[in-house]
Structures are given as structure tokens and as C-alpha cells.
């Protein structure tokens, strides 16, 4: 081991001994530090998990969605449009979709009613059958094999046997979902047979999507086209914005913490000040003291960062982020009860590091230096 490394090892040894001696003083700091890391890490991990959920959902969504616009608002899509879309070269298939929202007066919640797509074989429902989301089942006490009973505003009755309840794997989007058959859907909402909510267009080569949208715009001048990447972008900016808001709020906490840390490291106890004086007198240089103190801060940071991040991981993925759910997931009456898929990426850890360890270090540098410049002849006076 060369001298510079050996020197650092001696300094670390000394720091560890000093930390052990002043356990009481440092415990408070580490606890608060860990709490700051925990809150921030939870917010970031949670946002990332939700973002990931959204991307998984998106991956299954069609490349292109076509909506009819009436007076600039979303209207019903005439069935005739589907044929026009299918004629465009490069379009693999067109499927009219039926979905909508339903306000349930029984419990004041909003459901999404939907007719499952043709290729979703495991979710196919025949007339008089339904598949419902786990949140809906819970809030109304429905069970598999039981009956789904809904009454529309105009008094139409929907009665269907519950074929199954969706598992909570992707419950974020499916919690308030009810899948019913097309005839049931049209009757319940009193829809004519030749309209759809919108259409999903499958495209042979994703690279041609811009070209196809261009052609479709000519064919259907009144329609709006939403591509998958449009949705991804909206999602992304929505989630980022919310996450950012949380972090802007956290910034106040970080600032307070930095001030606390600066206070803490400049308010040396008499014992500690005496110790630094002794070290200076017996031959430690200002640089040695600074290095030793930086190790101390580094070890404290490392401990707080690791513990805070691990706790946040446990909080978000094992306890489903109990503390943040209402803020980030939305305000639906039906809180989805589901597990997030564990997911950590380097960019997030790096960001977390910059947002916690960097302010802490910056706040303590000046106090550390002030400590280190103790006059070496102090102990002689």
C-alpha cells in the first residue's frame, strides 16, 4: 500500500473511532439525514414505478388511435370511417372500440365500461357476462360468480354474471374497469349500431406511422389521430411534473436539512474542539483534519443514503408507498390496491445522490474547514 492510501486508511480508522465515541451526537444527524433520503427516494421510486406501469400498459396499446371530432370535441366515430382507414396502404387492421365512463350513484364512484377487443381472448365476455376490476369488486362487494348490477341514468338496467375479477397486477388502470359484451354495452348506453367510441389502428411498419397519419388526415379530415408516442409523451410529462412538484416541495426540506447539518458541524463540542487542537499540535496538518472530517461526512452520508434508499425501496415496493398514494396516483374514489413492480435505475440513484449528499457536503465544507484551521498552539495557551 502506498503512502497516500495508507494515510487515508489511518484517517478512516481515526474517524470510525471518533464516530463510535460520539454515537449520541451523530445519531440525531444520521436519523434526520436518513429521513430526508427516505422521503425523497420514496417519491422518486414511486414515480418511476408508476411511470413504468404506464409504459407497460402503453406497450400493449395500439400504434394509432383515431377519434372523431365534433365541434372540436371528442364525438362518436361512424363505422364507415373504419373501412376508409383499412384501405390505406400499410394499415394492418382497424378495430372499432367501445368504452366510456359511468357514474355510479350507489357509491359515488366512476367506472370505466368497456367492450374487450377481439384479440383479447382471455378477457372475452359473452352477452350477460362481465369481467370487473378489483377496485370495483371491492367497493361494491361483488364476487366472482355473482351478479353485476348497474342502473343507468335513464333507468336502463345492466345485469351480468361476473365471469372473473381482474387480478391486481396492472391494477392502476384496471381497478375501476368493467368489461361487458357489445350488445349489452349498446343497450345500456342506448347507442346505435353504427358508431364506435374510437378506433385502434394496427400498422405493419411503425416507421411509416407519420406517412399513414398524413394519408389518413386526407381521408378523414374531421378525425384526430393520436399515436402511441403522443400518449407516451403526455404520460411522461404528467408524471415528471408531479414528481418534480414533490421534489420542489422536498427542496425546502433539503434546505432546512442543509442548514441543520451546517449548524451541527460548526457547533463543535468543547471535547471535540480540544481533540482537533491536540491533533494539530502533535503534527496533523490542516489538510489531514479536512480529509479526516470529509471521511466522517462521507461515512455518515453513505450510511444515511444506503439506509434511506433501502427503506424507501421497502416502503414503495413492499408496502406499496402507503404514504404517497393519494398524492401521486390520482384522486379516484377507488384506490387501486396493487403491487408496484420493483424497478430502480442508475439515473434515479444518481439524481437522489445529487439531491441529498451534495447539499449535505456543500453545507459542511465551510464548517469543516473552520474546524481544521484551529491554531496549533491553542493547547499551549
Amino acid at each position: 500500500m502506498t503512502a497516500p492510501f495508507a494515510r487515508q486508511r489511518y484517517l478512516i480508522d481515526y474517524t470510525l473511532a471518533a464516530l463510535a465515541r460520539r454515537r449520541g451526537k451523530n445519531t440525531g444527524l444520521v436519523v434526520i439525514y436518513t429521513a430526508v433520503v427516505f422521503v425523497l427516494a420514496s417519491a422518486m421510486l414511486f414515480a418511476s414505478a408508476i411511470r413504468y406501469e404506464a409504459t407497460t400498459v402503453l406497450a400493449d396499446s395500439p400504434e394509432l388511435i383515431v377519434q372523431e371530432l365534433v365541434m372540436g370535441r371528442h364525438g362518436m366515430l361512424p363505422a364507415a370511417h373504419l373501412d376508409k382507414l383499412a384501405e390505406i396502404r400499410g394499415v394492418q387492421g382497424v378495430e372499432g372500440r367501445l368504452w366510456g365512463y359511468f357514474y355510479d350513484r350507489a357509491n359515488g364512484a366512476n367506472y370505466t365500461l368497456m367492450v374487450p377487443g377481439k384479440d383479447a381472448a382471455e378477457h372475452s365476455v359473452g352477452p350477460g357476462e362481465a369481467i370487473i376490476g378489483e377496485g370495483l369488486a371491492r367497493s361494491r362487494g361483488f364476487e366472482e360468480g355473482g351478479a353485476l348490477l348497474l342502473v343507468s341514468q335513464t333507468g336502463k338496467l345492466l345485469k351480468a354474471r361476473i365471469k372473473s375479477v381482474l387480478s391486481s397486477d396492472s391494477a392502476l388502470v384496471s381497478a375501476d374497469l368493467a368489461l361487458i359484451s357489445e350488445p349489452d354495452y349498446r343497450r345500456f348506453f342506448e347507442l346505435p349500431d353504427d358508431v364506435y367510441t374510437d378506433a385502434a389502428v394496427a400498422i405493419r411498419n411503425p416507421r411509416e406511422i407519420e406517412k399513414i397519419v398524413e394519408k389518413a388526415t386526407y381521408a378523414l379530415p374531421s378525425a384526430r389521430f393520436v399515436t402511441r408516442s403522443d400518449i407516451a409523451r403526455t404520460y411522461e410529462s404528467l408524471f415528471d411534473w408531479r414528481e418534480g412538484l414533490l421534489i420542489a416541495l422536498a427542496a425546502a426540506a433539503i434546505l432546512a436539512f442543509a442548514i441543520f447539518a451546517a449548524e451541527k458541524s460548526s457547533g463543535l463540542s468543547a471535547e471535540e474542539a480540544r481533540e482537533i487542537g491536540i491533533l494539530k499540535a502533535i503534527g496533523w496538518d490542516t489538510g489531514d483534519i479536512i480529509a479526516m472530517k470529509l471521511w466522517e461526512g462521507g461515512l455518515v452520508s453513505l450510511a444515511a443514503f444506503l439506509v434511506g434508499t433501502v427503506l424507501a425501496y421497502v416502503h414503495v415496493y413492499l408496502f406499496d408507498a402507503g404514504l404517497f398514494e393519494p398524492v401521486l396516483k390520482g384522486w379516484s374514489v377507488l384506490y387501486p390496491d396493487f403491487s408496484l413492480a420493483p424497478r430502480v435505475d442508475g439515473l434515479q440513484l444518481a439524481t437522489l445522490f445529487v439531491l441529498t449528499v451534495v447539499p449535505y457536503t456543500a453545507a459542511t465544507l465551510v464548517p469543516i474547514w473552520r474546524t481544521a484551521i484551529t491554531d496549533p498552539d491553542e493547547v499551549m495557551r
Binding site: S229, R233, D240, A248, A350, T351, V354, L355, A362, L365
Partner: protein
């Protein structure tokens, strides 16, 4: 679009760096005016002790700038989904006019801070602080650079609008376009490798010359800048093709991603570290004749030259290895 965690983190670091360096520069002006080592007054002792603080702070600035340089590129890469036409960091950086200048300035800040730390280290070897005024003059010069880098970054992030249609690496790093990036990727593969080999020859030649004569350290530093440019050109025009195993993909950022096994770090870390060390001897040579540094400064310079040559050679080996093991064959 600044309410995003990584962007807030980057801005925080830039603000901290700018404040630190501005303070250091104002202190630098005081040192330049008042420094008098012969004086035993308290004021002089205070100045001396404050230099410790400045060194620590600048080391901190360099460390966080280096860290956030990587963060900056990674964040740009992850944000690519938000911009039409962007597939990786290049697209995001191209969303407005400030992206690439901000990146270039960040790199410049890193090199400047590294250079300053080496000068500081050299100065501390002398019992009379021989380079103190020069060193603090450098900080005064460094301050505008750091502030400008922070300002560009802020302008860039403020100007990020999700509805902008940008162009990505496949469009930017294509030989048919104009501009620096296109120039670099437009270099024909053989030419770029020849350039790199030439730069290596010049570098090793100047290193040997310096080693023998103890003179022309500045030439070595110029050669290392030349090698840095040649190295980047080679990465963009040729080496990237071998890594992607695709004859037209020139992006210098994608190779930092997990898809390519973080291969880019093998190239960039030695190239950047070698250059940071290679820049210093030319500057240190200004003080080559200082009495209080006799013996210690030449030793430091030898270590720097040897270190940077070793790092460059490591870079060269990675380049050769990449080309040799790739399944892509450009030269039949």
C-alpha cells in the same frame, strides 16, 4: 420543463458551482493584491488558511461537475421519449440551441477545474507558494466559464418544450449535414483512424522529447489536446460503428447505455482522464525554473506525463480491441 428531478439536481449543482467559484474568484482578487508570505501578521495567516478552503471547494466543484456531466447526458437520453424525433441524448440536446453548447461548456469546466487542481498541487510543493498569484488569476478566469456553463444549462432546460420536433443522432451525425458533429462523423473511417494514429505518434514523440530534454512540455500539452480531438473524431466516425455493428450509426452517446454494455466508459474515461493530466505539464512548465520547486516539480510533471501517456495507451488499446473483435468489417 424544469420540474423534473434530474434537471433540478443538475441545476442545483450548477448553482452551487457558480456560487463557489464566484466566491473563490473574489477571494482570488484579494490574494493577488494582499499576499505577502514574509509577513507574520494574522491577516496573512488568514489568507493562507483560506487557501485550504478554496482547494477543498474546487475539488468539490470538480467532482460534482464530473458526476453531473454523466448525469446530464443520461438525463438527456432518458428524456428522449418526450420529444418527437428524438431517440437518444442527441435528439434531446438538439431540442434547442443551448443543449450542445451547455454540454461543451460543462466539459470545459471539468478540464479547467482539473487543471486548476493540478496547478494547486504543484504550488503546494513549494515552500514559498511560487504560483499563488498565477493560481488565483486562473480562478478569476475560471469563474466566468462556470457561470456561463450554468447559465447555458438553465437556458437549455427552460427552453425544453415537448412539442418541438427535433432531430436525432441518425440525422445529426450523418456526413451529409453541415456542422461540427457532421464534420466529425463525415470523416472517412480510414482517415479518422490515420488521424488518431498520427496523433498518437506525435504524442509519444513529444513525450519522449520532453522526457529526454526536459523541454517543450507545452508541445506535449498541445499534442494531448490534438489527441483528444482525434480520439473523439475517431469514436464518432469509426469506433462507434464497430460497437453498434452498424455501418451508419455514429452516435457518441448511445454507447454509454446499458444496451451496449456501457462500452463508452472504457473509451471516454481514459481519454478524458489522460487529457486532464496531459494539459497540465504545459502550464506547469511556466514555473519550471522556480527554485523552491527544483526537484519536486519535475517529478510531478514526469508523473503527469507518464500517467497521461499510460491512459492514452489504454484508450488506444480499447480502440484497437473494439475494431478487432467487432463483427462489422469496414475495411476488406
Amino acid at each position: 420543463m424544469i420540474f423534473q428531478a434530474p434537471i433540478l439536481a443538475l441545476l442545483l449543482v450548477s448553482a452551487l458551482s457558480a456560487l463557489t467559484v464566484l466566491w473563490a474568484a473574489s477571494f482570488g482578487l484579494r490574494v493577488i493584491r494582499q499576499w505577502d508570505l514574509a509577513s507574520g501578521t494574522r491577516a496573512q495567516l488568514e489568507l493562507e488558511r483560506r487557501t485550504h478552503l478554496v482547494s477543498t471547494l474546487l475539488a468539490f466543484v470538480m467532482a460534482v461537475e464530473l458526476f453531473t456531466l454523466v448525469l446530464f447526458v443520461f438525463n438527456a437520453d432518458r428524456m428522449a421519449v418526450m420529444f418527437v424525433g428524438a431517440m437518444c441524448a442527441v435528439g434531446t440536446l438538439n431540442v434547442n440551441d443551448w443543449g450542445f453548447p451547455a454540454l461543451y461548456l460543462k466539459i470545459a469546466v471539468f478540464f479547467a477545474a482539473a487543471l486548476w487542481l493540478i496547478v494547486d498541487m504543484a504550488d503546494r510543493l513549494g515552500r514559498d507558494y511560487p504560483m499563488i498569484r498565477f493560481k488565483y488569476g486562473l480562478i478569476v478566469a475560471l469563474a466566468p466559464l462556470v457561470v456561463a456553463a450554468g447559465a447555458l444549462e438553465l437556458a437549455y432546460f427552460l427552453g425544453l418544450k415537448a412539442d418541438v420536433i427535433t432531430s436525432c443522432c441518425s440525422k445529426l451525425f450523418t456526413p451529409q449535414k453541415a456542422g461540427l458533429a457532421a464534420e466529425m462523423s463525415g470523416f472517412d473511417e480510414r482517415g479518422a483512424l490515420m488521424l488518431l494514429a498520427g496523433a498518437f505518434a506525435v504524442l509519444l514523440g513529444t513525450a519522449a522529447l520532453w522526457w529526454k530534454s526536459g523541454r517543450f512540455a507545452a508541445v506535449y500539452s498541445v499534442a494531448s489536446v490534438f489527441l483528444f480531438v482525434a480520439g473523439l473524431t475517431a469514436i464518432v466516425s469509426t469506433v462507434s460503428l464497430y460497437i453498434y455493428e452498424h455501418p451508419n450509426h455514429h452516435c457518441p452517446f448511445c454507447l454509454l447505455k446499458a444496451e451496449y454494455g456501457y462500452y463508452g466508459y472504457l473509451l471516454y474515461v481514459p481519454l478524458f482522464a489522460g487529457t486532464a493530466m496531459g494539459l497540465a505539464p504545459g502550464v506547469l512548465a511556466l514555473y519550471g525554473k522556480t527554485e523552491s520547486l527544483a526537484g519536486t516539480l519535475p517529478r510531478l510533471m514526469r508523473r503527469l506525463v507518464a500517467g497521461s501517456v499510460a491512459l492514452y495507451v489504454a484508450f488506444g488499446i480499447v480502440v484497437v480491441f473494439t475494431i478487432a473483435t467487432s463483427r462489422l468489417v469496414l475495411f476488406g
